[in-house]
Symmetry: D2
Amino acid sequence: MIEPGELIQLQKTRGKNYIRCVPETDSIKMADGRITAEQITNSHYGDFVYTHRGGEYRLVMATLSDLVKGVRRETQIIYPKDIGFILMKLRVFPGARVIDAGAGSGSLAAAFAWFVGQEGAVYCYERRADFCDLCRRNLEQFNLENRVEIREQDVEEGFEQNSVDAVFVDIRTPWTCLDAVQAGLKPGGLVGFLLPTTNQVSSLLEALRETSLDEPEVAEILLRHYKGNPERLRPDDRMVGHTGYLLFSRYHPEVVA
Amino acid sequence: MIEPGELIQLQKTRGKNYIRCVPETDSIKMADGRITAEQITNSHYGDFVYTHRGGEYRLVMATLSDLVKGVRRETQIIYPKDIGFILMKLRVFPGARVIDAGAGSGSLAAAFAWFVGQEGAVYCYERRADFCDLCRRNLEQFNLENRVEIREQDVEEGFEQNSVDAVFVDIRTPWTCLDAVQAGLKPGGLVGFLLPTTNQVSSLLEALRETSLDEPEVAEILLRHYKGNPERLRPDDRMVGHTGYLLFSRYHPEVVA
Amino acid sequence: MIEPGELIQLQKTRGKNYIRCVPETDSIKMADGRITAEQITNSHYGDFVYTHRGGEYRLVMATLSDLVKGVRRETQIIYPKDIGFILMKLRVFPGARVIDAGAGSGSLAAAFAWFVGQEGAVYCYERRADFCDLCRRNLEQFNLENRVEIREQDVEEGFEQNSVDAVFVDIRTPWTCLDAVQAGLKPGGLVGFLLPTTNQVSSLLEALRETSLDEPEVAEILLRHYKGNPERLRPDDRMVGHTGYLLFSRYHPEVVA
Amino acid sequence: MIEPGELIQLQKTRGKNYIRCVPETDSIKMADGRITAEQITNSHYGDFVYTHRGGEYRLVMATLSDLVKGVRRETQIIYPKDIGFILMKLRVFPGARVIDAGAGSGSLAAAFAWFVGQEGAVYCYERRADFCDLCRRNLEQFNLENRVEIREQDVEEGFEQNSVDAVFVDIRTPWTCLDAVQAGLKPGGLVGFLLPTTNQVSSLLEALRETSLDEPEVAEILLRHYKGNPERLRPDDRMVGHTGYLLFSRYHPEVVA
């Protein structure tokens, strides 16, 4: 049985997927009708449920991958293939304090919030008010909003926090916020960047030379799905060819004796 | 300053990297000499330290990516590019209970232990006694052993736990343990597999048809690094061409009314 | 100026491309009207021409890559990225005699015909009459039909030729025609296969063990295009993820003393 | 039986491969001894032959792919995966006249010479005398030298030919030779470039804007080999991650009325 408070994914047959938190008593409102809380809590994962107007949805558990792909978006989101690697390289852990600079729709913020847990904190910076709203609504949808502070502020103006464990930067001109990144990070801390173009990678690598952000590592990740027929195993005909380049670095400040 | 208890990476110039936990008072023993705890706690991240025989090492913070690549290994390890994606797809979270079936050297177990936190638990199954020892030593090295139970047992014999959140299987014949996986998982729970060959993918896909493991998704991840010269940006000449195929599925048991 | 007899590509703005041979005097008939021969021969490469009903087309020279992508098709075609590699591995040369087994729409046959030149010959085998017609019409369109013989025949029944330089096989069950391939090839000759699925690759590799087809080499080719903006250089968002696996082998018959 | 004049590949067991032309009567001199012409002409493809000092070699037919990988090299060569695609995009055909600008060791020149046949011509430009010699020796080794003119000249100084069918440019600063390329090409003709770095791609794309070189198309090709065990089919552990970016364009000169 499915419990109130659980995060579920409603899969529309041959259509989109929707992340929802199971309500105590209210209905869930979909575009094609309502599903009552009772319908869901009387169902099992894998079952189909129907809106009062006949819309069919399958109930499955929401993974973190489902979450980050399920954010309502007005920006390019960061994809699971990239987020998973970012988590490993930025040393995110339960209890960590992490800055998400250029939060956009909040897909990465959701993943950070998921893994820093109740004791951790995610500080989102986003200069556009509409994206701040969107990011907040997405995090609320996922019940992760209490681990996240969202601030409508340009990252070039610096961060309110210092000695954070890690910073991720997803803005068009990341070389403008390197002072802010260094002021925010604790010594030894990690920083990552998402860069859609090679020109940005070059510009950032050059700017890093003037900083204490050390050992830059540039990579890209390609994810290839396969069709699931065991007698005719083969990759999908088409795949995502590019999301962005990832750049990681370590903060090693010079210490004045 | 670096504190006792922190996980650090000692980078040998043009050589291997070593993960160590900073001791309170003891020395760290390297192959080419000892480094005292005091040397390290008097240093800063990014500094060089020297063994009593002159071996040079750079001190950097150990990321989870460093950890999983730094396990002492007698088996093929699972790579950060794959582990990051596994974490997202298996819904690992702080507090989760996860089974690692075929633990090998423990690279994935370390990542699971890292993210399930103090309240979570990782149950490792490994039939070879020598790999159990190796896995344990690696987890102790990383201070993660108290979150992990290691059991010397063939996964086909079933798991001691049930209603776990997720299971990952990395054994040669994963189709032999599907009953065990279903008995161990909670409804809606997630399972993942690492499969080096296409033949194994086909065999597993076929075996899954007879189970309540649903919606199989097959993928592979390619990681491409770039040389860090901003004036001559280009991918590395050589890259890893294959680690393994990943297969994910959801446990949707039929419920008898 | 463009000469009668030249192979051109008519590029529809934001639309498809069409390969045509410039006629002496007739018009070229497009879906949206006619273009006279005079219009074309009075134009230069890169110019726009217009049908009598106002359809706009750009005139460019037809490359072999344009040709093989421009075949009218009712089957999966073989792509330029794969054909180029096939030409190199099968030792196609001006004057060569080559068998194309399972010719389909004729994209590979066109490339073979292009490179074997006037003195060479391409022998197409195709069991479906409708594909034979289609293949013939495509080769006529490209003025390459006099270098090609098309035979409506199942490849399992064997080939009429022997001692050919190379054979390429693109049929669903290529392991059924290995005797035919060996009977057709000259000693030392080369054979290639296109295989959409991993199951076919395994089956063929296994069947080859019983033959004198030696040194099997399996590969796949990925082509990634980039957006052409120099200030924002980046790969296309989406790419072709799979066309097929290529397998090449050498015919080394045992010689009875 | 193998005939004098044929191009063969001598495969050293677990070692390098060597391309040689079968002599009428002389011996072939290898590093570990001599093989007589008679030994070879009495052998069959697939046989082993032995030098007078016992060095073992397998005799196989030399494909074009073998040739281009078999050039003696002092420069980065162009790989078969890239050359095949270049041939398709540059409209190389038997009888074509093609310029190879920056010929280096001659791997691409060999492929051009192979496909333009007896009636075609390849014009190599190379500013370094030592590379000119190397390129010439490689082409002689392959019996292709009579189709090629090699000129020790900087490509910025322009080409002696005009109205050629295609030009390929492989030099560090290709934007310096765009006038030469346009002067050399016939209208509608094709040009290709190999560029190791993204910075070069950006610089060239920008320079092309000032020319009549039209419709630039940027791509890269990845080749992944598989291990040939049918029961354990899987990609090779490591692969080539990068050779270079390819850029193709069409020459569409403005015509002054």
